[in-house]
């Protein structure tokens, strides 16, 4: 019993100290430790990266489905005070220095006053896979599951903004949510979008996710959906939208969620850019091997396949290629149903299990814009945009 306890303690300690293994798991799991699972009210057990503010990650196996079910969809907050909102009493304020006709909308008015639209889109946290970064960087140590794909239903932000009257000098649209901090000095989580992105027909104020009212932990009763852009812009529990003639200078725009200027492709956010840094914007082309898991043992002669998801920032996926020989040769995988250019696309390729031995399976996706996943990580201090080609090692026996 003593020995057993000691072994467990060593396993737990090893989670922090073992050298990093580049695999489809955050380091703690790669070192053999079980991730801590916890269930928030209304959610199934998710990987508990932090309890307060809540940061819960979707387990890898749950990312196999075309649409990630609401009870397993990841949860990400910056601030710890998160009110449960009565939809009947919720109000959305629209105003700002460049709004000609400020107004307030109830949920009923929002749902009934504008054309309703649905679209499928990946919601991916900017810091997804930060826990796989090399060298390691501070922040929530996410594995692969700070993302999911859902069908979002709501109204176009641009229809609502037009109702509020967009003045010609408008530059940015600024979004606030209901979550708040303990200390008055802590900056509230407030984000902005360039006007042109706010007016894009795909930017929604959503009140449904996968045909159900938005779950509390995913932004009830209404949240922003910015298909193709990382999750930081998808403001949850929306309370206020301001149309402004100046660049918003809050902490979460000016200091957080920034990349070295020019280091990555993707839309530019000109009003927020400096010579040194620029806001993260679009999701880069990427893929995820969901099955087999790293280290899986595949019975010889039994049919097997590699499968997972591929996605990008809205061009859509053109092809997914698989290598089983250490990235020397590549073959195209079969693609699943096209759910829309902002959704992920399932890929699948049978594996030859006729002879025993190790297999190194690598997967790389290419978008319709021609962008392809890189082999090498572009380091940045906040650990964003890890879209390098991943591989898993398995054994046929």
């Amino acid at each position: 019993m003593r020995l057993r306890r000691r072994a467990l303690l060593l396993a737990a300690a090893g989670a922090c100290l073992a050298p990093r293994v580049r695999a489809l798991q955050a380091p703690a799991e790669a070192a053999g430790a079980q991730p801590l699972l916890g269930a928030l009210p209304g959610k199934l057990p998710l990987i508990q990266r932090a309890f307060r503010p809540p940061n819960f990650e979707t387990p890898l196996a749950e990312l196999a489905a075309p649409f990630t079910p609401n009870p397993v969809f990841f949860v990400r907050y910056h601030l710890p005070v998160i009110p449960w909102i009565d939809p009947a009493r919720w109000r959305l304020q629209l105003g700002g220095a460049s709004a000609r006709a400020p107004l307030t909308l109830s949920l009923k008015e929002l749902r009934g006053g504008f054309e309703q639209v649905s679209l499928a889109a990946v919601n991916q946290c900017s810091g997804n896979r930060r826990g796989l970064f090399s060298p390691r960087v501070p922040g929530v140590q996410w594995g692969d599951g700070a993302m999911g794909n859902a069908r979002w239903t709501g109204v176009r932000l641009r229809d609502v903004l037009r109702r509020a009257g967009v003045a010609p000098e408008a530059l940015e649209v600024v979004f606030s949510g209901a979550d708040s901090a303990v200390l008055p000095q802590t900056p509230l989580f407030v984000k902005s979008l360039p006007l042109e992105r706010a007016l894009d027909e795909t930017t929604l104020i959503a009140f449904e996710m996968n045909g159900q009212p938005l779950p509390h932990w995913n932004g009830a009763p209404a949240r922003l959906v910015v298909p193709g852009w990382t999750g930081t812009y998808w403001m949850k529990h929306l309370t206020e939208i301001r149309i402004e003639p100046r660049a918003f200078d809050g902490f979460w725009m000016k200091s957080a969620y920034r990349l070295p200027t020019g280091a990555f492709p993707g839309a530019r956010f000109a009003s927020q850019e400096t010579p040194e840094t620029t806001p993260i914007t679009e999701i880069l082309v990427n893929s995820l091997i969901v099955s087999p898991r790293a280290g899986a043992l595949l019975p010889r002669g039994k049919p097997a396949a590699v499968s997972g998801q591929a996605w990008d920032g809205g061009a859509g996926i053109a092809a997914v290629e698989v290598s089983i020989d250490g990235r020397r040769s590549w073959r195209e995988a079969a693609l699943g149903r096209d759910l829309g250019r902002f959704a992920w696309r399932e890929f699948r390729m049978p594996l030859d299990t006729s002879s025993a031995g190790p297999l190194e399976i690598a997967v790389r996706a290419r978008s319709r814009s021609g962008a392809q996943q890189p082999d090498k990580l572009t380091f940045n201090p906040s650990g964003y945009h890890d879209n390098i080609v991943q591989s898993v090692r398995v054994e046929v026996l």
């Binding site: 057993r4 306890r5 467990l8 303690l9 396993a11 737990a12 922090c16 100290l17 990093r20 380091p27 703690a28 430790a33 079980q34 801590l36 699972l37 916890g38 269930a39 928030l40 009210p41 057990p45 508990q48 990266r49 932090a50 309890f51 307060r52 503010p53 809540p54 819960f56 710890p80 060298p135 390691r136 960087v137 501070p138 922040g139 929530v140 140590q141 901090a181 303990v182 200390l183 008055p184 000095q185 802590t186 900056p187 902490f251 200091s255």
Partner: protein
């Protein structure tokens, strides 16, 4: 540490697919000089898993930067003397990255 081992044992004992316990706040940090002060100041705004969770990415310089961010950006009520004690505690117990 005993309860950590018990917790790990409990997790390992769960059959796959078994419902996990409702999520709860961790209040465990390593018992060493400076722990109570660290717990007292940090827990005001966030649960403590952020500390061991970040350990693999942290060294003394990174903890110093983190404490500075909490004080200057987020308004954490920590004096200079307390900041030094918290830094010593975090560095001694939760620095998993080479300096």
């Amino acid at each position: 540490m005993r309860s950590l081992a018990a917790g790990v044992a409990l997790l390992l004992a769960l059959p796959p697919g078994a419902p996990a316990a409702p999520a709860e706040e961790s209040s465990e940090l390593k018992d060493a000089p400076g722990r109570d002060l660290t717990v007292g100041r940090c827990i005001l705004c966030h649960s403590l898993e952020y500390i061991p969770g970040n350990a693999p990415a942290m060294n003394r310089a990174a903890w110093q930067k983190s404490i500075q961010k909490m004080r200057e950006r987020f308004g954490a009520p920590i004096t200079d003397e307390e900041a030094k004690q918290i830094l010593d505690y975090l560095d001694a117990n939760y620095s998993g990255k080479a300096s």
